[in-house]
Symmetry: C2
Subunit: 153 residues, 2 copies
DNA sequence: TGATATCGTTGCACTCTACAACCCTCCTGG
DNA sequence: CCAGGAGGGTTGTAGAGTGCAACGATATCA
């Protein structure tokens, strides 16, 4: 399972599909526990929300829900907990008082940075033996797969 | 994000790592809901357990826990529910009365087959536009990644 | 035979999640 | 102008999934 490219006779497509299914679900099962080990302070969802906030320079709870296919009530509770613990802050949009724009609070910035370092270390160690070209291709495949998954729900 | 391979200057490895992290966690968040949509009768964990049982021709609950990094109590409850609903059966090992070997029951075989068909259809549609060579490479990468993840916990 | 290890179950607590009902604010058509 | 609908967000409720700790039963070994 080490080498990158395999022969690709048409008959093998079905096998690839099975493998992709099995390996993706295997990963999914472990993701939560892995996240908990890497950064106990931030759950997988919390980390995701904070990272999104940093990347987007702030956004609304509804955006988070839409982007991550979560119910708005779920996001609401997550955000409430993150605000209570000082990871983020809400700023009511002055032009539309229905809207609360979420921004990272100082503690959120710090925790996110620390968590990112831990994640980087783990992934770096984990993927140390990979050729950079393979890493890049793998990343591309994942992006493409998630895009396809979003398009075919 | 459509084309497969990207340029791979060394400086891009860090970006690839970030992308891989982000896309894998994005997938993980959606996996449970996706499974529920594809086969409402079997949760993601239930499907996984039954598939493992089929593949291994029966195994112990402890094996499942070790393989999927779950607490034995979690597996115990999952197995109890699956037995209650007729998806699997337990057979006490005659040579070691502590051990219960789990096997698929007829209903488990049927449900697993149906779920597999639904999953195949979904994935086939989802990945229809992919070149078989890309599929094969993607599958290889996933296998390799999960192996590395298991080796560096 | 007694100490130790293994397999599994159960009590407990917690997180994550969706759905439904609700409130508040905004917008638009009569 | 204002009534009704739409959008953003919260809360009540319920259920799945999970881990930890304590326990009982069985097996193994000194």
């Amino acid at each position: 399972m080490a080498s990158a490219a395999s022969p690709t006779r048409p008959a093998e497509s079905a096998t690839s599909l099975e493998t992709i299914q099995r390996e993706l679900t295997a990963f999914a099962r472990r993701a939560r526990a892995t996240a908990a080990r890497m950064h106990p302070e931030l759950s997988l969802v919390a980390y995701t929300i904070l990272a999104h906030l940093e990347e987007q320079q702030g956004c609304r709870a509804t955006d988070l829900a839409a982007h991550y296919l979560l119910d708005k009530s779920t996001v609401s509770r997550q955000v409430a907990a993150l605000e209570r613990d000082g990871f983020l802050e809400r700023r009511t949009d002055p032009t539309d008082h229905r809207v609360q724009v979420l921004h990272l609070a100082p503690r959120g910035v710090r925790s996110l940075a620390a968590a990112r370092v831990r994640r980087q270390e783990t992934f770096k160690e984990r993927l140390a033996a990979w050729d950079p070209a393979d890493l890049a291709r793998f990343a591309d495949y994942l992006v493409r797969y998630n895009a396809d998954a979003a398009a075919h729900p």
